[in-house]
Amino acid sequence: MSTTVKLISGDGFTFVIEKNVAEHSPTIKNMLDVSHGGAFTEALTNEIKFPEIKGKVLEKVCQYLYYKHRYAAEGSTDRVPEFQFDLELSLELLMAADYLDC
């Protein structure tokens, strides 16, 4: 079973990230979930298409998931640096965040 998952943006960009990182988004986690006895195509192919999300935004999303993975770990005492992104992307990122529930 693969430990990575492929995220594909609406404009055709592909991001391969680790599954346990991707699952910081509850939406993605549910897509990959097989515990209810049935698997959606995403879980079978380890490939998720996001037709509504642009590559530029999805890249930031991936960065954010890693950022969250790094600093949100329980018991982490590191000082958390600010997450950097371009202001012009903020609205689209907001939409994506809402969509991905993270």
Binding site: M31, F40, E42, E52, E88
Partner: protein, 818 residues
């Protein structure tokens, strides 16, 4: 994602759609299709993202309510169709022919639909997560999953009465499900094999579904549990009614226990855990509580028989089913107590029966003359009483440990019953002390150490049960005194151990005097050793043993005399500090008197300021006596020695022993031995087994004019002869002695009560009559139960002596006068 970035530069790009806009209704159709695919197990062909996005878009385009209600309709339709397609015919089959198999098939199909529904709902809930997070929250609706559960409940099981969604006349399956489950349970009770996992699935379903009217309760509690309980009640009610007529108690108890276990197992296997307590309650009501008294009195084999048969396992089962229930436990307690009372009563009756049949009442006047044989036999009976009671206690103690699970309530029941049994015999304090006396004198050598311990412990236990502990103390002191003075006790360790056990029970106050007695004996022994080393002692020419007793510790052995007991060997000596007291016993022989005086002198040299009074009643002596050429060694009491020496005296002085004849009155006058002990001593010398003296006339009665002479013809095969002395042995008291003891005990009680009242009043200063009586009873209860009449008398005496006065304001209140 936190968007707290405020870096300057660039304008914010608008969020533009990448995919074309579609009509909401059209989008929903896509979702509805997906839901149906999920039910068809075609998940793997569906893209989660696609449907998630669809739901997302619908919510964003304000079509949440369309989506939510639409999903409900899809689910309802699916449920209804599934029931019609896969379940209804099975339900009808089970209705028409309720065999185990048909019920099983029906329940299995319901359970299958349920489990598929749950699985599907978990996935539907996931793809509709955005709906839950955004629309459901703001619209205050049940979550998608909860809504799915309600759809199942309202469509499959329990359509709301006025709901159009029930449709097509189907009234829901709940009644049939309940009926089928109950039939399966009843089948299992009757020994049929049922599929427990199906039933478990059904139960889980009913537990998980919430009731529509009261969402805190599970459907299980509303539709299944009440019927299950009432059906079980009927079933066990009938069963119990039938069993009580046909089974004996052990079997009834075993069956009830098995039923309780089986139902608990059933609940655990496939019913809701909340049912456990309720269902057990039903069984306990019907099987145990309803027949609690009846089971115990089942004629051919009830509680009585079980106790008599010592059926430990059966009693254990009986206790197990009774113990958790307070009322039946009370019945069992009472049953056990009654049987103890009965058995104990029989033991006590056996003790009393021979005594009353002997016409003792008529002979009460002659009680002091009861033959030593008769008294000895009664003593044996008395010992047997204690022994039997203790053996009975051992039996119940075993029940307590092995059958009654060491339950505190049974312990108290057993103990209470024994307290009643023991105290119902008003001679119990005396008999117990006698029993201890006998065992300390004769019994120990035959027993191993742990048996001795057990025996002592049991004795102390009985002591604990005694209400009149002061009476026991009285007897114990008398018996202990005799054991110590005649050196009859077998083991000092056992004596000491017993006293220390009594001390634990009653405190050091209680054993103070007993310990004082031991101390006196020890001091006397030390002094005897020192005395033997002196030259004065060597000059006496006889072996002298004196016990110096402190009068406050020892029971009054003879009235108005400070007890000093003397024993001597080889030649016999009773000492007497004759200071002119005309009632003092007269020592007839020079050597004896010298010895006694020597001892007194020796003693007073070390303990100036004390007064010694000689006490002869308890001593004994070894005498070498010459009967016309043959010499015997006689072991006699001190009194007997004095009497015999009268004859010897004469012989040496006038050398005509045979001619010396004394009347009883003369002997009394010469010796000053009180009349009653004298006649007893003369009896044992002249009328017993060994006739050392001749008596004229030859009757057993001794009158002052009877004459006695030395029996020169005396012969015996043995060299050493022990002349039995009635008084030196601890026997059951005669009526007269008993009355005397009662008087002593009564007097002691008066003193104790008075002392207690004064002590209480000294601290309280003022007290009402009732409170004073109660407090006095409380303080004395460890020793005896004072009658309030007695307390009232004591208060009266204290008023007379002006320790107390009545309060001027209220005559029911007393003041303490310093």
């Amino acid at each position: 994602m936190p968007l707290a970035n405020k870096r300057p530069g660039g304008r914010i790009l608008p969020a533009r759609r990448l995919t074309p806009q579609v009509e909401p209704q059209q989008q929903f159709e896509k979702l509805a299709q997906a839901i149906n695919e999920i039910y068809k197990h075609n998940v793997s062909q569906l893209s989660f993202e696609e449907y998630y996005r669809t739901a997302y878009n619908l919510v964003l385009s304000k079509s949440g309510s369309l989506l939510y209600n639409g999903v409900r309709t899809v689910l309802e339709t699916h449920m209804r169709e599934s029931v019609e397609r896969g379940i209804l015919h099975l339900a009808q089959a089970a209705d028409a022919d309720p065999t185990t198999e048909n019920n099983e098939a029906f329940l299995f199909s319901v359970r299958l639909l349920w489990s598929e529904h749950v699985t599907a709902m978990l996935m539907i809930k996931d793809i509709l997560m955005y709906v839950d997070n955004v629309y459901v929250k703001t619209a205050h609706l049940p979550s998608i999953y909860e809504m799915g559960m309600c759809v199942f409940r309202d469509t499959v099981l329990l359509p709301p009465p006025l709901s159009s969604s029930a449709g097509n006349g189907s009234s829901g399956l709940s009644a049939r499900v309940v009926k089928a489950v109950l039939r399966q349970i009843s089948g299992e009770r009757n020994g049929e094999e049922v599929n427990r996992s199906t039933l478990q699935g059904i139960s889980n379903m009913l537990v998980e579904l919430r009731d529509a009217a009261s969402p805190t309760r599970a459907v299980f509690e509303v539709i299944l549990e009440p019927q299950l309980l009432s059906e079980s009640r009927t079933y066990y009610h009938d069963l119990a009614e039938q069993r009580i007529k046909s089974l004996d108690a052990p079997e009834y108890a075993r069956k009830a226990q098995a039923d309780l276990d089986a139902e608990a197992d059933r609940v655990q296997a496939y019913l809701a855990s909340t049912t456990d307590r309720l269902l057990r309650g039903v069984l306990q009501d019907e099987l145990v509580t309803a027949y609690a008294p009846d089971i115990l009195v089942i004629p051919n084999d009830g509680l009585t028989q079980m106790l008599d048969r010592r059926d430990i396992p059966a009693l254990g089962v009986l206790y197990n089913i009774y113990a958790p229930l307070s009322q039946p436990l009370g019945v069992l307690r009472t049953g056990v107590m009654n049987h103890i009372r009965l058995q104990g009563g029989q033991i006590t009756a056996a003790l009393l029966a021979p005594g009353s049949s002997g016409g003792e009442v008529k002979k009460a006047e002659a009680a002091s003359e009861v033959s030593s044989l008769g008294v000895a036999a009664k003593t044996v009976m008395a010992l047997r009483w204690v022994q039997d009671i203790l053996a009975l206690y051992d039996v119940y103690d075993e029940f307590f440990h092995k059958s009654f699970n060491e339950g505190a309530s049974m312990r108290s029941a057993i103990n209470d019953a024994f307290i009643e049994v023991i105290n119902a015999n008003n001679r119990a304090p005396e008999l117990l002390s006698l029993f201890m006396d006998d065992n300390l004198k004769n019994g120990l050598k035959r027993r191993a150490e742990q048996d001795v311990d057990h025996l002592l412990e049991r004795s102390v236990l009985m002591f604990r049960f005694l209400k009149n502990k002061d009476a026991f103390e009285h007897y114990y002191k008398v018996h202990l005194a005799r054991r110590l003075l005649s050196a009859r006790s077998e083991s000092d360790d056992a004596e000491q151990s017993l006293v220390s056990k009594l001390k634990v029970e009653c405190g050091s106050q209680f054993t103070l005097k007993l310990e004082g007695m031991f101390k006196d004996m020890q001091l006397s022994a030390d002094m005897a050793r020192d005395l033997r080393a002196t030259s004065e002692y060597a000059a006496l020419g006889l072996d002298l043993n004196v016990s110096v007793l402190t009068p406050t510790f020892w029971p009054t052995l003879a009235p108005a005399q400070q007890p000093v007991s003397i024993t001597s060997e080889s030649s016999k000596n009773n000492g007497d500090c004759d200071d002119g007291d005309p009632t003092a016993i007269v020592l007839p022989h020079g050597t004896l008197r010298e010895s006694a005086d020597a001892f007194s002198a020796y003693y007073l040299k070390f303990h100036s300021g004390r007064r010694l009074t000689w006490q002869y009643a308890m001593g004994n002596a070894d005498l070498k006596v010459n009967f016309g050429g043959r010499t015997y060694e006689l072991n006699v009491s001190t009194y007997q020695m004095i009497i015999l020496l009268l004859f010897t005296d004469t012989e040496s002085a006038e050398a005509e022993a045979e001619a010396k004849i004394l009347t009883a009155a003369e002997i009394q006058q010469k010796t000053h031995i009180p009349e009653e002990p004298l006649s007893r001593q003369l009896q044992s010398l002249a009328c017993g087994k060994y006739r050392v003296l001749n008596k004229t006339p030859r009757s057993r009665e001794v009158s002052p004019t009877d004459t006695f002479s030395f029996n020169m013809e005396f012969k015996s095969p043995q060299y050493r002869i022990r002349i039995p002395v009635v008084s030196a042995k601890n026997n059951v008291e005669t009526e007269k002695e008993k009355a005397a003891s009662q008087a002593i005990i009564g007097q002691e009680r008066m003193y104790l009560i008075e002392a207690t009242i004064v002590r209480i009043m000294k601290t309280r200063k003022q007290m009402a009559h009732e409170a004073l009586v109660n407090e006095t009873i409380t303080q004395l209860s460890s020793r005896f139960l004072p009658a309030s009449k007695m307390i009232k008398d004591c208060v009266g005496k204290l008023l007379d002596r002006e320790y107390l006065q009545r309060s001027p304001e209220d005559p029911r209140v007393y003041n303490y006068l310093a």
